[in-house]
Symmetry: C2
Subunit: 500 residues, 2 copies
């Protein structure tokens, strides 16, 4: 192998080790850390982040990338070597463009914005958060200014989460999707409603947890290379291809959320467990993009976990586990209940039919903020108007409206659309999977997920970050990211459930 | 403050962050990590160690230390600034003397030696380990050669664990101690033996664990700045003055070991929790030496935890927790049982009366190895002869003899005596504490440990690494480390228990 490539890999492996060490510290912070540990942990994470950044943007790495781009100019772009150099070059260029002082300033501004958001949400008063959001938007605009002009300034932000994706592409996809989703919701609203009161009875936390563990064990989550713990917010995190952990939580008001979030996180984790082991400690580790990642979590949570075949397999045991809660409930009624559609105020609780509309609203507001076309003072009003328009519900206050998500306080503008794109990709993959695995429903009905996971491993997981999301989706399904498969999926599913 | 000192502290804080991050990764490896994670974790730890070392031995730090030694030449040696510069200079000098290639070679040799030791111990065959031990001893000699000649070559090794301590000092202390301990053991051997069968009945793991938690909570272990988990081997580890964790384990064959090891580890942890918070992220964090550390763990485990006043407080609840196991057992019989003396083969299971003899044997062998005065082939024979001489027992095989400890396979030669020194110091402190706190026994009998902990905080804990161990002990007790207080303590205790 090229000596220069070998050297680049050695240097990037160190950076990967530092980043993974930081992930361990972050996981521990969420899962184990005693309250006293916070301040020191913040400093440790800051130091690891600073050193990883310094090591990554070194002149030596820049020179190696430059030389290697020449050396591998004629290489197959789908080769590991070409992909590694491409991703390294891309990330290096981004990292070098952003001055360290800006990163430091951003840390201060967003840390204060987060505090203000906490207070504003607690008091349900957007005016507390507004001046901080002004500063966040100002920072975001400065961030954009470090990069060469794009078709749209928002492209710069989106590209950090979805390499190669354009704002215009997302808008076109969402424009095709929006009327179909609104139409579907309206049709559902006039249909006979679904009964789901039995989902909100008292469920034993441990039994639910154990059931979730059994489910994802059958899915193929590898416990030899992972573990599950409790944390205030469910997440998946990666320390190595061979150590990918998930967390879960129990919400007494919404007990089954634990089960679906476990399936969701296992989807993220199985993706990372399935990356080509040869990518360990290289820049190709991890998922291709947030949307591709979300396609994996949503696929296991929704396409599998809310399907009738899935519950035909699991419901008998589930009912035996919770006989009093599910007294008189059959598998079909249960399946309908876990798929109940109800336009609601809060994104994270939204069902499959309404979720994407929450995202579209946010994307529109983010683009308007970046374009400077909205006065932040009016944000709550605009939010509420859009909620009425898309979902027919009006937030009673800021806490349940414009203040519900933490993302903007972190400075994460450009992030939300990846959730909706993930939903779309999951349905696109699902159509292709069902063409390739003819009897998939039967397999699921028998609790066999091996062939499904193997398909995902081969077509998605193993590639890690080798392909950009649009390239990967087109490679696998024959089309770029599109709305139609998801619309077909929702229409079929809800037509059956609601007799549309 | 001096600008240079400020700069040195900033640089050393980064190194501290890296080392603490490595401690988090090490803790996770013992406590949580799934089996698959081992290889990547090893690489992450190696990278963190390498970067911490590179950052520490930088020319900039060397120059700052040199300048500051001049700038603070007239400062009070007991000031924080002078101590910080002294400890930094000391550690810097040591780190710079050892070539990175040597460190790398050492890692390879000891990793293989550890594997060989595992196999040798499993097969109880010293000849498997012998060639690796030869290499370890060879490395140790080369390590010594990097330093200026000392009074004795073993001083170089000892100094890494006990700053400022000399081999001759330890030998003099042990020479005073050995005949007294042997005499005491012989007297006990001819006395009426103590009954302790009830300690080895079946005890419920969770109840024992909860009891241990209650005990160390009363001691003053701060759960807001710590936590306890299960691990294959009990240990304490520090990520910050405000995050000091301990682990414990349950041994079905020796259930009460869990309780005493919990007290032991809490002693280490309370020490680190009690260090001056101003030392956070400085080179003065942590304990003064391994012996001082061990004095704290042994004080809580033995001087407190095996005392009659302690059990007069805790036994009623303990007996209520385990009524059938302790049926017919009174507090005095129980106190006698947990203090039973029985010369045995294995150091880690040894009682207070015999423990130090295990250490003396090891020190003598280590010094002989460093001096080249022993053929390693004969090590098992020499070991067994000394066991007979000191303890009157003969190991039936290598596994229960010369192969029982892991330390030599790690290259840790110079370490063992710190265990015995810790015992001695604990008794020295105990005499002083009882002069300062007249009614300490009464306080313990009432379950009040606040004044004791406050004394340790003020006299030992808060100083961190500010004083060398001999300086600290003399500052606090008026004498250097000595054998007499421990002999007095043992003699009094066992005279009562065995009616000598």
């Amino acid at each position: 192998m090229s000596q220069k490539l070998e050297r680049l890999k050695t240097l990037l492996a160190e950076v990967a080790d530092l980043n993974h060490a930081a992930s361990v510290l972050g996981w521990d912070q969420q899962v184990n850390m005693p309250p006293g540990g916070h301040e020191a942990r913040g400093q440790q994470l800051a130091t690891l982040g600073k050193i990883a950044q310094e090591k990554f943007i070194s002149d030596e790495i820049g020179k190696l990338i430059e030389d290697l781009e020449g050396e591998f100019a004629g290489a197959d772009p789908a080769s590991d070597e070409a992909a590694l150099i491409r991703v390294a070059a891309r990330n290096y260029d981004k990292a070098r463009r952003v001055p360290p002082e800006f990163v430091a300033e951003q840390a201060v501004v967003t840390s204060r914005a987060f505090e203000a958001w906490m207070e504003a949400k607690g008091k349900s008063d957007f005016s507390i958060f507004q001046p901080h959001l002004e500063k966040v938007v100002e920072l975001v605009k400065r961030y954009i200014s470090f990069f060469p002009p794009a078709d749209h300034p928002y492209d710069i932000l989106l590209d950090d989460y979805e390499p190669g994706m354009k704002t215009a592409d997302v808008q076109a996809i969402f424009d095709a999707l929006r009327p179909k989703q609104v139409e579907l919701i309206q049709a559902i609203a006039s249909a006979k409603q679904v009964k789901d009161d039995f989902l909100f009875r008292k469920y034993n936390e441990k039994k639910l947890n154990d059931f979730g563990v059994d489910v994802i064990t059958k899915f193929g989550y590898d416990w030899n290379r992972g573990r599950q713990d409790r944390a205030p917010h469910p997440f998946a995190t990666t320390f190595s291809v061979n150590d990918v952990r998930i967390t879960t939580r129990f919400e007494p008001d919404n007990p089954l959320a634990m089960l679906f979030s476990t399936m969701h996180e296992s989807g993220h984790a199985m993706y990372e467990q399935g990356v080509n082991p040869a990518y360990e400690r290289t820049i190709l580790m991890g998922g291709a993009s947030l949307a591709i990642h979300e396609s994996q979590s949503r696929l296991w949570e929704n396409l599998v976990g809310r399907s009738l075949p899935f519950w035909e397999h699991f419901f008998p045991v589930f009912k035996k586990t919770f006989p009093s809660q599910l007294d008189g409930v059959g598998v079909k009624a249960f399946h309908r209940a876990v798929n109940k559609v109800e336009p609601s105020l809060i994104r994270v609780n939204a069902d499959e039919a309404t979720y994407n509309l929450h995202i579209m609203l946010r994307l529109e507001l983010e683009i308007a903020m970046v374009e400077g076309k909205v006065s932040l003072k009016e944000l709550p009003e605009i939010w509420n108007a859009k909620m009425r328009e898309y979902l027919g519900v009006t937030p009673p206050n800021d806490a349940k409206g414009v203040l519900q998500d933490v993302h903007w306080s972190y400075g994460s503008i450009g992030y939300f659309s990846t959730y909706a794109l993930g939903n779309l990709i999951s349905a696109q993959l699902w159509e292709k999977i069902n063409r390739d695995i003819k009897n998939l429903d039967d397999q699921i009905r028998k609790g066999n997920f091996g062939e499904l996971l193997a398909w995902l491993r081969t077509n998605i997981h193993r590639h890690g970050q080798k392909f950009e999301p649009q390239v990967l989706v087109e490679r696998v399904t024959g089309s770029k990211i599109a709305a139609e498969p998801y619309v077909r999926y929702l229409t079929k599913k809800y037509s059956e459930i609601y007799g549309l």
